[in-house]
Symmetry: C2
Subunit: 421 residues, 2 copies
Amino acid sequence: MSSDSKLKFGRKVISVEEARSLLFEYVKHTPIESVPLSSAFGRRLAVDIVADHPVPHFRRSGVDGYAVCSKDIEQATPEAPVVLRVIERIPSGTVPQLTIQSGTAARIMTGAPVPDGADAVVMLEMTDSLQDAGTSSYHVSIKKNVTAASNITPIAGEIGLGDILLEQGTHIGPGEAAILATFGYSNVSVYRQPRVAIFSTGSELLNVAEALQPGRIRNSNSYMLAAQVEAAGGSAVIMQALSDDVEEVEAALQETFPKVDLVLTSGGVSVGDYDVLVDVFGRFEGKLLFNKVAMRPGTPTSAALWNNRLLLALSGNPGASFVGFELFAKPLIKAMAGCRSPYPKAITAQLDVDYDKGSAYPRYVRGTTDVDNNGCLKVKPSGIDKSSIMVSIKDADCLIYLPAGGKGFARDERVIVYPIQ
Amino acid sequence: MSSDSKLKFGRKVISVEEARSLLFEYVKHTPIESVPLSSAFGRRLAVDIVADHPVPHFRRSGVDGYAVCSKDIEQATPEAPVVLRVIERIPSGTVPQLTIQSGTAARIMTGAPVPDGADAVVMLEMTDSLQDAGTSSYHVSIKKNVTAASNITPIAGEIGLGDILLEQGTHIGPGEAAILATFGYSNVSVYRQPRVAIFSTGSELLNVAEALQPGRIRNSNSYMLAAQVEAAGGSAVIMQALSDDVEEVEAALQETFPKVDLVLTSGGVSVGDYDVLVDVFGRFEGKLLFNKVAMRPGTPTSAALWNNRLLLALSGNPGASFVGFELFAKPLIKAMAGCRSPYPKAITAQLDVDYDKGSAYPRYVRGTTDVDNNGCLKVKPSGIDKSSIMVSIKDADCLIYLPAGGKGFARDERVIVYPIQ
C-alpha cells in the first residue's frame, strides 16, 4: 500500500476531544489592538478591568427631595411636621457649597452629591415647600421621619476601589460597555479579530454570480462558513473556490497561510479519486494532526499545521461542514480572540422524537430546541421532515450529542445538547 | 395645576402592550438596499427567496462508485460478481458523454451527474477494478446488487422549482447564506440598518474620555444602549450628552430627527425639577404617545411622535434604561429592519430563588437562566447579591416577567421569561 493509500484508507481515528486537544496546542491569541469603545462591541477584552475609583465616588442621593440631619426630623408626622430652612439647591452634576446644620436642609436631585452634615434624604413626596421654591432661601415642611442613611448611597456603595469588574477575555456586550464607559475607557484593548481564510474545493463549484451549468453547482459552503466565522467573532476572507488540482490547491494554501490566523477548507477530505486535500496531505511538508474523527457527520475531518498555522479541513457535505465548524473552528476562533471558555456549553434536554439511527461513532445532529409550558427544554433534529440538509441548516440552534451505539434513542430520553451561540 | 404639572403628576398609565401598540402604529420599514452576500450576514431579507431551479438540477450521485443498470447486477454476490465494462469516468463538475447500456458502467464521483441509462450507483467499496483504473476502458467487478434508484438523488430531490426557501424579513445567518449562495444571490436585497440616535441627558454627565469630577459621572447609558442597538440590528449614533437645559435638548432633538429612523433618550423623564424631557414634552409640537407605563422599572418611560419620527424616552437609571430598551426599542428596531415577529418570545422557566418584592405594576426583572440536569429551565434575578445595578446588567440573558401583586413569588414557581437575543 502506498503512503497515499494509507492516508485514504489506513487512517487512525481519534475522538472529538483528542482532536480538539491536538488543535489547541497551537492556538495563540491574536495581537492586541486598541479600538474606540463604540467599535468594541462584540470583541473581547485583552486586559482585566479594575475599578480605579469607587462608585459612587461621592455620597449620592437616590431620590429627589431634601437632604437633612435625620435627628431633626425624628418626630415628624403629617400632623406635626418639622420645618427646616432650605439653604441650598443641589442639582445633579453640581457640588454642594454649604454644610447642613441642625435646622437646615438642602433641596437635592436624584444622583446629586449629599452635602456634608446631612445624613439622610427625605423624598419630595413627603414634604411641602412653604414658599416659592424658586427663591434663594425658603422653608420646607417635613411630614415623615426617615432614619439615618436613608436614600443615600455611600461612597463605594456599588463598586469598591480595586474591584475586578471584567476579566481579560470577556465578550463586550451592553452591560460590559456600560462598565467600560463608567471607568473612562474611551478606547479599549481587545484582541484583533482572527482572520480566517475559507476555501471550498471541487471542480464542480461555480462562483455565486455565475449562471448554472450542467453538472455544476454554486459554491455555498464558503458563504455558510463565512457567516459562522463572523458569528464566532472572526473576520472571514472568502477565497476563490479551488479545483481538484493538487498543485493548485497546495500553492493557494501556501500563499494564504502567512496572511491569516486560520485556514478552513471544505471538501476534498474523503476517499474519492479527486479528494484533493487528501492528496495535499500526502505530499505536503507540514504536520498532519489528524485525518479521521470518531463523529458523524464529518468522520474524515482533518487538520494540519503548516508553517505554524492551522489548517482545518472540513467535509464538503454542507451539514458535515456546518457541524465540523461548530465543533472545532468556532472554539479555535473564540480562543484566538481571547475567550477563556471557548468550547460549547453542554446542557441537558429531552428528545422530542424517536431517533432510531444508531451509529458506530458519536453523532452530532443539528437540532432545534423549544421550551414547553413546564419549563422543560425539548429538542429534535432540525429539518427532520425535509430532505435537503442544506435547507434545514438554518433551523439549527444546537447540536444534539448522541453517543455511539446500535439502537438509537427514544422520545423523552435525556440527551446532551450544545447550544449554538 | 399647570399643564406642566399635569405632565409630571397627572400622567395616564397604560400597559406595556398598549404602549407597544401606540409605537407600532408608526413603524415603517427602512428603505431597501442591495448588498453583497458576504456583507449581508445579520441583515434581513427584503424579498422572498424562491427556488428558480430545482436542487439538484441533475440526477446526482450520492457516493463514489459505479453508475450501472440495476437489472445487470440483480444476481451479483461476492462469490459470483458481475463484470461490467467501464466506458467513462465522471468527476464532479463534468457532464457524462455516453449512455450506459446493459453490460456497461461508468466510474462516478460523489456529486457528479449520473449518466443516462444508469438507474443506480454502486459504492466503490462493493467493487473491484479488474485492470488499472487509469486506462481509458477497463472492467469492474460488482460484488453486491443494489436496487433501482440507489445512491441517486433525483432532480428536485432536495428542493423543487418554485419552492419558497426564505421569507421576506428572515434574518440572514449561516444556513440562509448557504441557500442564497446556492441560488446565485451574489447581491441580496435587505432593509437598510435602522439608524438610531442615542442621547443621554443630565448636567452631571461627563464624556467617557473626561477625567472624573466631583459630583459628576461618566455617560455610560449611551454606550450600553449603542451595544443594544447593534445587537438588535440597528446602527447606533451616539450623540453628545445633553445638559438639563430644555431649549438645548429641544434643538438637539429637532436637528436629529430628520437624520435617523429612531431617537432614543435616557434620563429626564421622571418628576424631578430638572427632568428635562418632561419639560420638552410640555412645550413641543409633536404628539405625546404616552408618558407612564405600568411596569417596574421604568414607569415614566415616554414616547412621542415628532415630524413623523419616533422618540422613545427611557429612564436614566441604567437598569430601567436597559429594560425599557429590550421591551420597546428592540422590537421597534427589528420591525424597521424587516422582522415579522419582533417581540421577545415568552417561554416558561422555574424561579430558582424566592422573590419577595411585590409590586403595584408588573415587574420586568433582569434575569439569568440556567438549565439543570433534568433539562429544566431555571431563572433567577441577575446580580441578586450585588449592590450595583450597573455591574449586573452584563449577567442578564432574559427578562423575568412578574405580574403585579402584593406578595412576591416563591422559589420553584413557574414564571414567564423573555430571552434577550
